[in-house]
């Protein structure tokens, strides 16, 4: 099997791995690196459960080859917490009751971060569009939209704007 050596920044840490050339990023994360916070709901780019940030942009990691992240910066759900402190988006998801089975949650939080990084003050419609690539079967999305709205407020209060961290 053909393998490739790649070097990338994963949640802030330099990471060097040798991976099969045909391995997707989600399998690298989950099988090789043990980062199972990134989920698989379809493995085909249809559900958003596997969303991660690649150079700040939300992507379905089941559609990205591991080799493609060579030299890039990847942030997974595990990378949002900062020294035990939750990211404001994570806090808002808890406070607003936006989590049920939680299986879509990591992908949702990643999509929300991508949205708020670009658009710190989104309308409800913009929020809905921003998370429309992430399927959730439990919540009916209401509390997820509430959470993203609340997170935007939190980030604003914290004097943020632009890149949320």
């Amino acid at each position: 099997m053909k393998t490739v050596n790649i070097e990338f920044t994963l949640n802030g840490a330099k990471t060097k791995v040798t991976v099969p050339a045909n391995m997707t990023l989600v399998h690298l994360l989950r099988k090789e690196l043990g980062l199972t916070g990134t989920k698989i709901g379809c493995d085909k780019g249809e559900c958003g459960a596997c969303a991660v940030l690649i150079n700040g942009k939300s992507m379905n990691s089941c559609l990205v080859l591991a080799a493609q992240v060579d030299g890039k910066e990847v942030t997974t759900i595990e990378g949002l917490e900062n020294e035990g402190k939750l990211h404001p988006i994570q806090e808002a998801f808890i406070e607003e009751g936006a989590i049920q089975c939680g299986y879509c949650t990591p992908g949702m939080v990643i999509s929300a971060k991508f949205l708020l990084d670009r658009n710190p003050d989104p309308t409800d419609d913009e929020i809905k569009t921003g998370i429309s690539g992430n399927l959730c079967r439990c919540t009916g999305y209401t509390k997820i939209v509430n959470a993203v709205r609340a997170a935007a407020q939190k980030l604003k209060n914290a004097g943020g704007g632009g890149e949320t961290r």
């Binding site: 989950r30 099988k31 043990g34 980062l35 199972t36 916070g37 990134t38 989920k39 698989i40 709901g41 379809c42 493995d43 085909k44 249809e46 559900c47 459960a49 997974t76 759900i77 595990e78 949002l80 917490e81 939750l86 994570q90 998801f93 808890i94 406070e95 607003e96 009751g97 989590i99 049920q100 089975c101 939680g102 299986y103 879509c104 949650t105 990591p106 939080v109 929020i127 809905k128 569009t129 998370i131 429309s132 690539g133 992430n134 399927l135 959730c136 079967r137 439990c138 919540t139 009916g140 999305y141 209401t142 509390k143 997820i144 939209v145």
Partner: protein
């Protein structure tokens, strides 16, 4: 002065010893009297006091010889009454979920773990003439290839009748049937090995619908024929009832296969520990203890040597109550003696897993001029696919749900569930109700229209009340909030102002018509007469202050674990942070039954209260020896036991627990509950004793050009007794509305000659955030006195009436009716054309 006192409810614990009088300084107030009895600030905040039968404020001065009645208003004043119950308490599992730390069964991996794949049928109906696995076995990296010959026990599973083959030997009966199992060093090798398995088939005629299956010349799918199950119920004389009617409405409806579409596909890991002889299976599940038995039956093993861990699960909705990967994992782990992982793909999930049964229903309802229902006649035919699983009770509940929460003097219900070679009909949130409520709530809307009565008004006129004899003939013994949910919906902004809302939207969006519709439902809670419907929980008080609650119930996302912690914190009057909940593990937790049938708060909640009561009683007895005090003079309060007369004498439960541990009798007990049952027994688990009632309203826009229906707003008014967690109830309602919207508009597992045509999320469409309406939940509480803190259950109902409410709204908008789900743009356009003609 002397004051007569009588205490009620929980306040009885403050009753003066051997007396019904207290003495108080002259001129003392009610508040002083209450304090002298031992009531604390929290008690005072919700106590209700009558002095000489007149309700008084606490600053009232008492006089010698006054008589006080001191009540705890049951179920009322909830805000003040409870510290955790009825609050939007954050979920205890939320932090781990939002950080990605939660390990679902499909996240687990172990050193040396193998990956498994299942070889599945290539035909919906065929004989297996030859099965050759040799090439697959020889593929490097393959560690095991198993067939029906490798099953030591019964080759079948099924909650009711175990005729779903673990691995087919002679015949396959649908596209999801399993033929062989492979375990290999990695997923790709396992997949390749599956491709190398050679099966020679003899194709058989495919039975694609119940109508076809019931024809005389139809191929017989099972020895007993093609009818899996029939059920018939009657009350009074339906013919007579229809004769008495001034108007009669009639209609036929049909529904499609629907997939649960939980986002975590079924999967897990199995490990066989040779030394201990223990098989451990981690899997998505709804009832680990039943999985354990089903595995044991197939393995011919002692179930006590099988550990199933089913919690947490990434969504289930009924679709993980039956076996998915468990037995396959057990077989492979046992044969290979290595950890094995099996995780269905999305495609496999859509093809293999059970679905919501398609049903064809016929309704006939009669009513008098003033809108009183005189009779209902219902006929239901369900497509149950080739294997039984739990199809029979689903047909039964469809019949029970079919009249809706209304009074009919005469009724007749008849149904049959029929084998086909389609997908498997199985358990799915709603359990037969969505299919029938789709019809009955349209028929009632039609009746209201014919009679010129407002649709909510006609329902109110016929609404069931506590103590009524139901349309099936049993007594409504537990809280009935039909009228209350109808009134809540009636008073919602959307309903009250619907005309204005519609007018404005029509003006703003020419080319679209808008409309508002509503529908109601009663939804059975619990398993029904004759089916073991119980929960056990274990409670442990630890000397370090930790309180451990163990329940076999599985956290499938619904929030039950948090609700349990809330109820326990309330019962023990302690901080919720002290509680740890262990769940869903056959070796570490007791059997609490399945998380199904909206039952888990009701039955586990009562078990928790029972356990807490036992702990409190025991704590008082133990404290008596520690404090050297008469136990009758001790009360349990806020996590401690204290003397009624001596403020110095107080000991916390953790200190009591410490003494108990030293004495080798830890402070722990078992809480138990058996669900109360109906006064009637119609057989086969009917009827039920508890119901959720719900009314839902939808606002839709119908695009006259494209036929597309959008749901813009929705209101849910559920009556679930008492909401334990506000976020939890709202969450069930919001998720339920959107799932019911998917059923109404998009979701359709299309089958053609037994083949599934929609085996991914690109063709099987579930609603996204953009599709979902704005949802308002109006929680209606009619506390049920036999429920924990007045609660019943709410898991299923919110996904049911929204579907016909959407259709009723489309009818309100455009004057059309569509009887077969889903309401696709094409059907809308055709109906609009027909309407114009």
């Amino acid at each position: 002065m002397e004051i007569g006192v009588k205490l009620y409810g929980e306040f009885k614990k403050y009753a003066p010893k051997d007396d019904d009088r207290i003495s108080l300084d002259n001129g003392g107030t009610v508040a002083q009297a209450l304090r002298s009895l031992g009531l604390n600030d929290r008690d005072l905040s919700y106590a209700m006091v009558l002095v000489n039968n007149i309700r008084v404020k606490f600053d009232r001065h008492l006089q010698d010889g006054d008589r006080m009645d001191i009540f705890q208003p049951i179920g009322g004043g909830a805000e003040k009454l409870y510290r955790y119950v009825g609050k939007p308490v954050p979920r205890i599992d939320a932090r781990d979920k939002v950080t990605g730390r939660t390990k679902y069964s499909t996240d687990l991996s172990f050193p040396g773990m193998l990956w498994a794949k299942v070889k599945r049928s290539e035909y919906p109906h065929a004989n297996i003439l030859k099965l050759d696995v040799e090439k697959a076995r020889k593929l490097p990296g393959v560690e095991a290839v198993l067939t029906a010959d490798d099953i030591p026990g019964h080759n079948g599973f099924g909650i009711i009748t175990p005729n779903w083959p673990v691995l087919c030997r002679d015949r396959v009966m649908y596209m999801g049937d399993a033929i062989a199992l492979v375990a290999a060093v990695d997923e790709e090798t396992a997949e390749r090995a599956c491709e190398l398995i050679e099966v020679e088939y003899e194709e058989l005629p495919v039975v694609t619908s119940p109508e076809e299956a019931m024809r005389e010349d139809a191929p017989q799918l099972h020895e007993k024929g093609n009818i899996m199950h029939t059920m018939e119920l009657r009350k009074g004389d339906v013919e007579k009832g229809l004769e008495e009617a001034d108007v009669i409405t009639e209609g036929e409806y049909s529904t499609q296969f629907m997939d649960h579409a939980f986002i975590e596909p079924p999967g897990g890991v199995g490990i066989y520990d040779e030394e201990e002889g223990i098989l451990t299976i981690w899997c998505g599940s709804q009832y680990a203890f039943r999985d354990q038995l089903q595995i044991a039956r197939a393995m011919n093993w002692d179930p006590r040597k099988i550990r199933v861990i089913g919690s947490p699960t990434g969504g289930a909705f009924g679709g993980k109550d039956e076996i998915t990967v468990q037995i396959h994992l057990a077989l492979l782990a046992y044969h290979t003696k290595k950890p094995v992982k099996l995780w269905w793909t999305r495609e496999e999930t859509l093809i293999v897993n059970s679905k919501r049964h398609p049903m064809k229903t016929k309704f006939k309802i009669g009513a008098t001029k003033d809108g009183r229902f005189t009779a209902i006649d219902v006929d239901v035919t369900a497509d149950t696919g080739p294997h039984d699983t739990i199809g029979a009770p689903i047909l039964n509940l469809a019949l029970e749900s079919s009249p809706g929460p209304y009074q009919y003097p005469h009724s007749h219900f008849k149904g049959r569930s029929v084998y086909t070679n389609n997908a498997i009909g199985g358990e799915f949130r709603g359990f037969g109700a969505p299919q029938v409520v789709w019809g009955v709530e349209q028929e009632i809307a039609k009746l209201a229209g014919k009679l010129g009565i407002d649709p909510i008004e006609i329902r109110k006129r016929n609404a069931l009340k506590l103590g009524d004899i139901s349309s099936l003939g049993h007594t409504m013994q537990t809280s009935v909030g039909v009228t209350e949910t109808l009134e809540a919906a009636e008073n919602s902004d959307l309903w009250r102002n619907r005309e204005k809302i519609i007018r404005e939207l029509n003006k703003k969006h020419p080319g679209k018509l808008h409309g508002v519709g509503m529908a109601s439902e009663w939804h059975a809670v619990g398993l029904g007469v004759g089916i073991p419907d119980f929960a056990n929980i274990d409670l442990e008080i630890h000397p370090d202050g930790k309180i451990v609650l163990k329940t076999g119930a599985i956290e499938i996302g619904q929030g039950n674990i948090t609700a349990y912690a809330q109820m326990l914190a309330e019962a023990l009057e302690i901080d919720m942070e002290r509680i740890e909940v262990a769940h869903g593990d056959t070796f570490k937790t007791p059997d609490s039954g399945s998380v199904t049938a909206s039952r888990s708060v009701l039955v586990n909640g009562n078990a928790i209260i029972d356990g807490a009561d036992k702990i409190k009683k025991r704590a008082i007895l133990e404290a008596a020896t520690i404090l050297v005090e008469d136990p009758n003079n001790l009360v349990y309060e806020e996590g401690a036991v204290r003397s009624k007369s001596d403020a110095e004498k107080i000991v916390s439960i953790e200190n009591i627990a410490e003494v108990c541990c030293r004495r080798n009798k830890p402070l722990q007990d078992v809480g138990a509950n058996i669900m109360a049952i109906s006064d009637k027994d119609f057989g086969d688990g009917l009827p039920h004793n508890y119901y959720t009632f719900i009314t839902q309203v939808a606002l839709v826009g119908v695009d006259l050009k494209t036929g597309q229906v959008d749901v813009l707003r929705a209101v849910s008014a559920p009556e679930m007794g008492k909401a334990i967690n506000i976020h939890g109830v709202e969450g069930q309602c919001e998720g339920g509305v959107v799932m019911g919207q998917g059923y109404a508009l998009y979701e359709d597992l299309k089958m053609e000659k037994g083949q599934v045509l929609t085996s991914n999320f690109t063709t099987y469409i579930i609603p996204t955030a953009v599709d979902a309406p704005d949802i308002e939940t109006i929680i209606v509480e009619v506390p049920e006195k036999t429920g924990p803190y007045g609660a019943k259950g709410v898991g299923e109902a919110p996904t049911v009436p929204i579907t016909p409410a959407i259709m009723n709204a489309v009818n309100n908008a455009a004057g059309i009716r569509i009887n077969d789900l889903p309401i696709t743009p094409e059907k809308v356009i055709n109906a609009l054309k027909a309407e114009k003609r």
